[in-house]
């Protein structure tokens, strides 16, 4: 099937097998290997991208269902040569070790910062709470990091959220 989608600001028209996930389309067909495959089941978050500005697991999205979508991957986060503030903060706070969960953490954090609203741990559901470390931990728990960089990830995100 032929689909057209916007990837990191570039319009791409591709012929895809209906079994292909968005993640495999990016990695195996479009040469965008920044999005990682950690579990292919939506359990680890390494494949997180932004679909129309919202964070989503690319491994759970079929490519054919993305016709007309606007996709941002980790390769599209920076503004040209100027890194996204989250990218700079991740480097500065050593918010990764092996780096394999990092693209997903970054896209997830970028999507999360734009979300607002209460989370499962917010006391008053009518408020838009400040992104404290505790709120960030809750909202970033869909992205696993086996190296255990969580404290530094939280520090980096809280710094950018301010």
């Amino acid at each position: 099937m032929e689909i057209t989608l916007q990837v990191n600001g570039t319009r791409r028209t591709v012929e895809v097998d209906p079994r292909v996930s968005l993640l495999d389309l990016l990695r195996e067909r479009l040469g965008l290997t920044g999005s990682k495959k950690g579990c292919d089941h939506g359990q680890c978050g390494a494949c997180t991208v932004l679909i129309d500005g919202r964070r989503a697991n690319a491994c759970l999205a079929l490519a054919v269902a993305q016709d007309g979508s606007d996709i941002t991957t980790v390769e599209g986060l920076a503004d040209g040569d100027r890194p996204h503030p989250l990218q700079a903060a991740f480097i500065e706070h050593d918010a990764f070790q092996c780096g394999y969960c990092t693209p997903g953490q970054l896209c997830s954090a970028a999507g999360m910062l734009a979300e607002g609203g209460p989370s499962a741990i917010t006391d008053d559901l009518a408020t838009d709470p400040a992104l404290t470390a505790e709120e960030v931990r809750e909202r970033m728990s869909g992205n696993l990091c086996r190296c255990g960089a969580y404290p530094n990830i939280v520090t980096a995100i809280v710094e950018v959220a301010r």
Binding site: G34, G38, C39, T73
Partner: protein, 673 residues
């Protein structure tokens, strides 16, 4: 120092094994055994071969040619016998991943099934004493008279702790891209912890000279031991590429990882401790039962830390192994020390309670002058300093040992302590340093699996050369570079760094180039007991309505020689402690006794810590000036962080609740039982 490859990693430009762009790449997908033990009677590939895009099917119907002495795990498709459920018995190569996966389901394998035995138990009749335990330690040691020591003791503890099978679960599943050239040379892009060792193992399995094989691994998404040696997926890519005449990519699924890439053996550990009226140990006996597959003998060194930790006139350590119809276990972060110290340090807590002594004081009192089992002097030992500094920072003083009496709302609060230890060894390595374009290029076939090796080696070289780090470029991750040992056993930086320092010193003398090989220097070093030590403190809260345990604070104080880079070191320690928290509270792979294999196969059912599980973790260190290690004065730090964490948390859970859970993980079900 910020990681040298940091920019590549945050922009998605760092290339992992499955990501190298290779013209004409194809995909192999494995077919796994559906029985735990038996014999394959036929493999019908006709249906698969007729499917779209399929190039070939590999199986024991037509065994690929390999070296006759190939390792039975790596020598794929050589035998008709099935050793465990999930073993790779066939594979399909196709033009796309989707076509290969679909056709793999169409391969028909029929079996003659035999009854299987997959359950580890301490009275298994098949238990035997292995010749040695990983990697080269004696299976048993005995000093003094344990029975007499226990009989004479004023206080004794006789307890059995168990740990379940656990899986490393690096974020990057094992992946390999194999490319054969027209003249029979092989290039393998592999997710591995050691490019030189992977090259040698691949060449040996194929029966090729090592020069014909090149292994490249510039970035690897974690390993924690699971990528320390090559696993069947690597050989699958190599053999499939040879059979298809095309480059082949194998990216194992998370589910497949559980079956074919190794795991930490489950353990059953009996600890008998005796102490006199003052708390001085009179006897230590640590006996372990653990498992391996019928294919290979992997005997984890679980009881070895007792040989290092505490002064006692009578000390016995023993390992017993049983070969079951299970997948082959292997290295997982701190094999041996991690499960062994969980049991020993939990038992020490129980002894402290029996004696009526503070658990920090008990450990300080029993700190040895020389290595308890072998009598060798220590190169340096600062366990006591770690315990005292940790106690000071944690606010341990004045702790009421009474369990189950501190309450904050729904939560019961408790604190616990445990010691850590890990050997500080090194292996021979080569390296070169060359003046190029006004700076230095350092070459060594090391691998940076997220430890920060690239950055640490740059600092080591820059310090030796007396130049800023910007003037040094370190090339690693390619077996064409000077041969080096794998990143494992917390030996990477010590091993590679020794060679880098020597090469840089020679380059300074020469003015242009230096080359080093540390084989002789390591052979000539003094026979000392070289170990890192540490102390871990945990504060937990337990909701006794739900059994939920939360770790409010973990503090680790480590004595690991000279710390080469503070930022990287802290990340390593904290990462290890985080994995230790997972071990304490959630990580377990459950053996399927009815069908063989493991029941839980993914990250929804094998839980690892998530961001919300980690509230506060602090790591710090005692500076050590140890001249008996290596030119950097550094001990490895990749593993000690996980050692002792689970015991500290378990001891804190006991302090909070009065419930001693002796089987990991400490789940709500076990607390409420």
């Amino acid at each position: 120092m910020n990681r040298i490859e940091g920019h590549d990693k945050v922009t998605g430009r760092a290339t992992y094994a499955a990501e190298y762009p290779v013209e004409g790449v194809t995909y192999a997908y494995p077919v796994q055994a559906e029985i735990a033990r038996g014999r394959i009677t036929s493999i019908d590939a006709a249906g698969a071969l007729a499917m779209p895009g399929v190039l070939t099917v590999l199986s024991s119907e037509d065994p690929p040619e390999l070296a006759p002495d190939a390792d039975p795990e790596l020598g794929l498709f050589q035998r008709r016998e099935v050793a465990y459920r999930g073993q790779i018995v066939a594979a399909v190569v196709a033009d796309t991943y989707e076509n290969a996966r679909a056709a793999a389901r169409a391969v028909r394998v029929t079996y003659q099934e035999d009854p299987h035995d997959v359950r580890l138990r301490s009275d298994h009749p098949g238990l035997y004493r292995p010749e040695k335990v990983n990697p080269f330690y004696p299976a048993d040691t005995e000093k003094g008279d344990v029975a007499a020591g226990l009989a004479a003791a004023a206080f004794t503890v006789d307890v059995t702790y168990t740990t379940p099978a656990m899986h490393n679960n690096p974020m990057e599943p094992h992946a390999t891209l194999a490319v054969w050239s027209g003249d029979g040379d092989l290039t393998v892009y592999d997710a591995t912890q050691g490019v030189s060792t992977a090259r040698d193992m691949i060449a040996k399995t194929l029966g090729l000279p090592a020069e014909r094989v090149r292994v490249v691994c510039r970035h690897v998404g974690g390993g924690f031991g699971a990528k320390g040696t090559i696993r069947p997926g690597t050989m699958l890519a190599v053999l499939a590429a040879r059979a298809a005449g095309r480059p082949v990519k194998v990216a194992l699924t998370r589910q497949q990882l559980f079956d074919v890439t190794g795991y930490r053996t489950p353990t059953i550990q009996r600890l008998r401790l005796g102490a006199d009226a003052d708390g001085r140990l009179t006897a230590v006996d640590h006996e372990v039962a653990e498992q391996s597959s019928t294919l290979i003998e992997f005997a984890e060194q679980t009881a070895t830390p007792a040989r290092t930790m505490y002064e006692t006139p009578a000390l016995r350590t023993a390992h017993r192994l049983v070969r079951l119809d299970v997948a082959s276990p292997s290295w997982m972060r701190a094999p041996g020390e991690c499960p062994g110290m969980y049991a020993l340090e939990s038992a020490m807590d129980e002894l402290a309670i029996a004696v009526g002594m503070d658990p920090v004081e008990l450990r300080v009192l029993n700190d040895p002058e020389v290595e308890p089992a072998g009598g060798r002097p220590f190169s340096s030992r600062n366990l006591v300093a770690c315990l005292l500094e940790g106690a000071r920072r944690f606010g341990w003083e004045g702790r009421d040992p009474t369990p189950g009496v501190r309450r904050q709302g729904r939560w019961l609060i408790g604190t616990g302590v445990a010691s850590s230890t890990y050997p500080a060894l090194r292996r021979p390595s080569q390296a070169t340093a060359t003046v190029e374009n006004g700076g230095y290029v350092v070459r060594v076939a090391a691998v940076d699996l997220g430890t920060g090796a690239r950055t640490a080696l740059t600092r080591i070289a820059a310090t030796t050369l007396g130049v800023p780090p910007e003037q040094v470029r370190v090339e690693l991750g390619d077996s064409d570079l000077p041969a080096a040992p794998l990143a494992g056993g917390s030996m990477g930086t010590a091993s590679w760094g020794s060679a880098v320092v020597a090469a840089c010193e020679e380059a300074l003398r020469d003015g242009k180039h230096g080359a080093a090989d540390t084989t002789d220097a390591i052979k000539a070093q003094e026979d000392l007991a070289r170990h890192s030590f540490g102390a871990q403190f945990a504060r937990v809260r337990v909701d006794m309505d739900t059994g939920e345990v939360r770790v409010s604070h973990l503090l680790g104080i480590f004595a690991a020689g000279r710390i080469i880079d503070e930022k990287l070191a802290r990340s390593q320690f904290v990462g290890g402690m985080t994995m230790g928290l997972g071990m304490a509270l959630m990580e377990a792979t459950v053996t399927d006794e009815e069908f063989g294999g493991f029941s839980n196969h993914d990250l929804a059912q094998y839980h690892v810590p998530v961001c919300a599980d980690i509230e506060r973790i602090d790591a710090a260190w005692i500076e050590e000036d140890d001249r008996h290690l290596n030119p950097m004065g550094a001990k490895g730090i990749g593993e000690i962080g996980i050692v002792g964490t689970a015991a500290a948390i378990g001891n804190a859970v006991y302090h909070a609740t009065g419930i001693r859970v002796r089987d990991l993980p400490i789940t709500p079900a076990r607390l409420l039982a």
